[in-house]
Symmetry: C2
Subunit: 304 residues, 2 copies
């Protein structure tokens, strides 16, 4: 039996691994993807302190090198179920079962795709899902924001301080975001709204050049030149394998010690309920989760 199993080898999981190994815990990281971490899809990361500008892939590789250098064991496995048996947790994967005293879920989350032509091809080439991450690359340029909820309007406001003009493209004729955000967005000179409209295609060779918009009421198609497209149509946390308290859409609820509703199961990074999805917050979560897991494991070993 291991002391600790960490599910997910992105920034949160690997940081938890580094901390756990430094505490002397017998630690195993399970990761299903060859290249883990939402961040590895980022073309350029300029907000992880210490690296002024680095590709997401390179940053992820540095995290992995660091973890391996510290002695973190990373194994390839797709976790299907985490079973709570009190002082023992059983992790069932496509490649056998593992047991540990404690488990940290660091499985991340994926933004929902629009599912239109050009979206995958131009990811990180003008297609983004996070204004805080990528907004600054569009200084003085024109961007569209797709969606009408809190995230869309929050990020439209962020972009309005950076881009020259922001068009919010929404399939309905009113926003879902709270009224205070709406008021700010409507009062911002360089934010415009394109109602009853969806994006049908994203075009561009090396970079996003234009989008094809479809008016849902008239069926009319128009092309529009843009430099960037920010998409907010939802986010899917990867948490179906574990039965703990979650939000409606599946984010794991934790306290500020990263404890879930089940003793000995912790969560860190984008898969937990938070309002900030950043590499810095993920690595912090990972460290805190490992510190809490170490304390929990110590309590199991000494208090019984």
């Amino acid at each position: 039996m291991h002391d600790l199993i960490i599910i997910g080898g992105g920034p949160a999981g690997l940081t938890a691994g580094i901390y756990a190994v430094r505490y002397g815990l017998d630690t195993l990281v399970l990761e299903k993807n060859v290249i883990p971490g939402q961040i590895s899809t980022a073309d350029t990361v300029e907000n992880y302190p210490g690296f002024s500008s680095i590709s997401g892939m390179e940053l992820m590789q540095k995290f992995r090198d660091h973890a391996e250098h510290t002695g973190v064991r990373i194994q390839s496995a797709d976790v299907k179920i985490v079973r709570d048996e009190g002082n023992k947790k059983v992790v069932i994967t496509d490649d056998g079962e593992y047991e540990a005293l404690a488990v940290i879920i660091a499985t991340g989350a994926n933004p929902k795709r629009l599912g239109v032509p050009g979206e995958d091809k131009l990811l990180a080439k003008g297609v983004s899902y996070c204004a805080t991450c990528d907004g600054p690359f569009f200084g003085g340029q024109e961007v569209i924001v797709v969606g009408g909820g809190e995230s869309a309007v929050t990020d439209a406001l962020i972009l309005s301080g950076i881009a020259s003009r922001v068009y919010v493209v929404h399939r309905r004729d009113e926003l879902r975001a709270c009224s205070i955000l709406q008021k700010r967005a409507f009062g911002t000179e360089n934010i415009s709204f394109i109602w009853d409209t969806v994006v049908q295609e994203i075009k561009g060779d090396e970079l996003v050049e234009k989008v094809v918009l479809k008016n849902m009421k008239t069926g009319e198609l128009t092309e529009m030149n843009v430099d960037g497209i920010f998409i907010y149509v939802g986010i899917n946390p990867n948490t179906t394998m574990v039965d703990v308290d979650k939000t409606d859409v599946g984010f794991i609820k934790t306290n500020d010690r990263m404890e879930s509703s089940v003793r000995g199961i912790f969560a860190a990074g984008d898969c937990r309920r938070t309002s900030v999805w950043q590499v810095v917050t993920a690595v912090s979560d990972g460290a805190v989760a490992a510190i809490s897991a170490h304390e929990y494991i110590t309590s199991i070993k000494y208090d019984q």
Copy 2:
């Protein structure tokens, strides 16, 4: 008037600066020390993901380079008072006054020194104030922990999983730490207790070699060979300049958005109430504080 003034140029403050500038905020960082950040006193940092092993000084320089590269303005000034005037905050320094819509306090905290000969000279050469940070450098070695409170016993337990033997040196004949921690410590085979005793001197040439202990009851002096000494006699947050809700010892109370009890004043890093004092948590705090400050500043600009 600036949008945002950040007080403190350590990991938390500089990360807040990077995020704020990327949001397009007019941001000023005020720092009183030439070399800021508690971390810059660390000989080697091995738990900031991305750098397997780096000196604290070098890491701090990388943060500073990154901040300056992003366009963060860092000015030398010793802040005396932060005055809240509602939608305006006035920052009074030894070198004039500054105004901003919002302020982030990122002034850090300093562990209390024992104040004995050898302590300053051997800092980071075997003298440490944080087992999570420096414990792993003492694998298989013998260390002493000075203190009897929660931090001392928590870190003694951490060290017991790494060092070969841990001696807890305490000036009284009982611990202040909670009973559950005491029970674990007393039940741990490689933790010993030296009661009624204080450290009178730390000796060593390049590295810590021995400590001089004094029994408070008998006055007897003894020398003891050790490889490391971990000191837990308190911690001083640098927060006297601001009037917000604080703990008894002065840590600023915040919610998880880093908001203090006063609108428009935020806190990040070691100066706020937290149970974890790490570079990863400080940079995360800084990012979250900047995100919250940006939202607050947007609200001031648009909601009035």
